[in-house]
């Protein structure tokens, strides 16, 4: 392993920084703010956080942990269980951490993924004490080549007092050269970011770091957690079908060309199914300007339908990973990994006119979208990058299954119990029952279209009944205040919204 490391690390005398994860973890003290690599379970630091959790058993400590986005290898859960996390930002997907957040034990700061680095750079968050960054290699200058994600790593390295590098000798060496690291200038002298297309490269393939900051190098040999890809259900196939029909119509009507515009897709099986759907139809020369390059990205690249994909991380299933990681050279000129504040940059999203496809937990009859909370209170994962893309792209699409919990819960509700994306940010809604094109419609028109096209048929009469009674009271966005949240109250009380059907 150390021989491998010698091959990966060209920093002279690097062995003087070499230490065990346990020793490196000692650099992190109670009360510190720590930034770790990791974005959608790709490229997270793997050894030091576990060492921190072990240490906390004897020597309790609490930190503020920032990452790119979610961590793999159960790390968020282990850290939460060990009581290490006082504060956590900007995103997570872990069941156990989620429990601690919802019990109020961990203060979770849910942020737009493009914003964390800005807040840090502008000193609007605590100063970063330590950065822990997974690397596939270290250059002779000490510069860090990240692994399967960039996330916030470059900003963490720039802002931290000290840097711990996890040199992962199991990460494919072919990752070297895939990254494009560029950080915006400090204001007020900030230049335009010169990206003109998803394939524009504007930076370096490594993270520049003051070598004096490097406090430890820990050699590791870990793997990212594979994504769990659930096979498409009838519902996801229908959603994909509706959306592909929509895109075909946009092309036919001249609003889009067959190469569409750069695509962004959220994580998950619905987004994957939609992307797979693009293999059919009149589409060619597609590009992505997204956060995560998933299985469907590589399938589209392999099929020849997609020309280029820009992201901040690569997250793959076991099967797709075996295909991709051993053949990364094949994709070298067709993918790039960027810092998340560039992959999700509102200005780039607006300039490129990204088509944003994200998943909703629920949406209301006027098109306000809840991406994060169950029944107003319980956090699922976080807003992630959806807000960066949905507000600023050319087309903002949200997809959802029309019901959850085997039809007990309607995803289309009178009043969203939490709003992450207001109606101004939502152009198209899709469920397995149909697609509601909301462009240019006023709220009362949106309601009819959303109910008729997206709601589960057996919930439609109750939604129409609510809407009609609300309209009788008047208003631009008619509501019946005293029952607006009654569907959620029923869900909370009875585990089902079906009692609203009996009213």
């Amino acid at each position: 392993m150390l021989e491998d490391a010698d091959y990966r690390c060209r920093l002279p005398d690097w062995r003087r920084y070499l230490m065990s994860a346990d020793d490196a973890a000692q650099l992190i003290r109670d009360g510190m703010t720590v930034g770790m690599s990791g974005f959608t379970r790709a490229g997270e630091a793997k050894a030091v956080p576990l060492a921190l959790a072990r240490r906390a058993e004897q020597d309790p400590l609490q930190i503020t942990l920032m990452t790119g986005a979610s961590l793999g290898n159960d790390i968020d859960g282990i850290l939460a269980d060990a009581g290490v996390l006082a504060r956590r930002m900007p995103f997570q997907v872990d069941r156990r951490l989620r429990g601690a957040i919802n019990r109020g034990e961990v203060m979770f700061i849910d942020q737009h993924l493009s914003e964390t680095a800005e807040l840090l750079r502008n000193k609007q968050l605590n100063r970063l004490d330590v950065a822990v960054i997974e690397a596939v290699a270290i250059t002779p200058e000490g510069y860090i080549v990240p692994t399967a994600s960039v996330g916030n790593s470059a900003s963490f390295v720039a802002q931290a007092e000290r840097v711990i590098v996890e040199l992962n000798v199991a990460a494919p060496a072919a990752l070297i050269g895939l990254h494009d690291i560029y950080l915006p200038d400090m204001r007020p002298e900030r230049h335009p970011i010169p990206i003109m297309a998803p394939d524009t490269r504007i930076g370096h393939p490594w993270i520049v770091v003051d070598p004096a900051k490097i406090a430890a190098i820990v050699v590791t040999e870990g793997h990212d957690s594979p994504s769990t890809v659930t096979p498409p259900s009838d519902a996801t196939r229908h959603i994909a079908g509706h959306l592909i029909d929509f895109f075909e119509n946009e092309v036919a009507s001249g609003r889009l060309t067959p190469s569409l515009l750069p695509l962004q897709a959220g994580i998950g099986s619905v987004a994957n199914a939609v992307m797979h759907g693009l293999m059919e139809g009149p589409f060619e020369d597609l590009t992505m300007y997204s956060e995560v390059l998933q299985d469907s990205t590589f399938d589209l690249l392999d099929s020849g339908r997609m020309r280029f994909a820009s992201g901040s991380a690569i997250t793959l299933s076991q099967a797709c990973g075996e295909r991709v990681w051993h053949n990364l050279e094949r994709y070298r000129d067709r993918i790039v990994l960027r810092p998340q504040e560039i992959s999700n940059h509102p200005g780039m999203v607006r300039r490129l006119g990204v088509i944003a496809i994200n998943t909703a937990l629920e949406f209301d009859i006027y098109g306000n979208v809840n991406s994060t909370h169950i029944n107003a209170s319980q956090m699922m994962n976080g807003i992630g990058g959806s807000g960066d893309f949905a507000r600023n792209g050319q087309l903002s699409i949200f997809v959802a299954n029309a019901t959850a919990k085997k039809g007990e819960l309607s995803s289309v509700v009178p009043f969203a119990s939490h709003v992450d994306h207001c109606e101004h940010d939502v152009d198209v809604l899709v469920t397995e029952h149909g697609l509601a094109d909301l462009r240019g419609l006023a709220p009362r028109e949106r309601a009819r279209r959303i109910i008729d096209h997206c709601a589960a048929p057996f919930f439609r009469p109750a939604l129409n009944d609510y809407f009609e009674r609300a309209c009788a009271r008047g208003g631009h966005t008619p509501h019946c205040l005293e029952e607006a949240l009654s569907w959620h109250a029923a869900a909370q009380r009875e585990g089902s919204m079906r009692s609203v059907l009996d009213r």
Copy 2:
């Protein structure tokens, strides 16, 4: 008047386009989509819309009307009363139009002000049949020099089939040269917008138009409506004071320099009071990158505290107008008027790091902001540009009086009855009672700070009681669903929220 027009219009043979407003209005037919100049009651077309309203009395017709933002001279009200407006976007502030919207008679499409031109350019809205643009001059090429606002006029001219110009000979000739008209390239070949600072000029001082589109020139002699500036109350003075203290502290702590960052301020007396407050304290070399240049902008320019102001319109009180309009030359090098998709561009707002100061109607204990709706349903004005700035700037601040209706209504509520700005987009909240700095805080922490710093003292016990009972139920964002909207229900039923104090 025609001699004045000869002086203002250098298009050869222009008199062949000359016609009365009534004749020009005949070019607009039932069912058409019409784009008119006008932004925050500045630079709206004044004669043709009134002719349209007159005609509708004999010859009913309905159109879709797009503008920059709000219109002055009562035009929205007159058009609404005449039944001319089938659809209206993207903003309005008129009492009578608001009534028609809330009765469901006019379909109002409430949009982020930076987006309308994009939607139009990308054919996501109806094709524009006619543009009606107020001009201070027409160049020999037929290019249009707008008056006191740019708004969406340049895009309307580019997209419309036919263009009606209202040549307003009463508009000060010194407006010529103040504008900077630049429209983004069509995607996918869009170049970066090369603005580096509020004073960067990137375009032409006129709107380029294909002269073949010019269908009519109507000579007018009207004035913009002056803004109604209410003198600062104790409450607005306190709000301004809290915010000035906050800025002073940001400077003292090194997060901002004494020139702060480019400022954006919403319309109204609170924003004006805050801007006036910047005359005191350690501030110098200030700039604005905003939508509207108001009285306070010119006071700051005159005081020497502000170096430069970029906006899309100039809207002034009678008194300030008399000072400014007769001395516009004095400001020639210190102000610029841009298309609203540039003044409000998410990429520019992010690049410059705008400090966004906008007004909230209400906000909840977690910092979700309602800018638009009374009791969930009744539209006030619209989201305007607040979403363009609040999401993308370096600091997003919302101000409100802690109560409305003489203390009957709390602006701080358990659950916002409508969300325009989710908690992710809100850094600082201010009322006359204090300032809540929410940066880096989780929802439960935000709640304590918002209640303690911003709520009216006599509503605090009820808010704390709600929050504590909600926390006992758990959740990242704790709520009691069955009473979350009960404060608004009381307001709707009783005109007051005070009954919640008796629980």
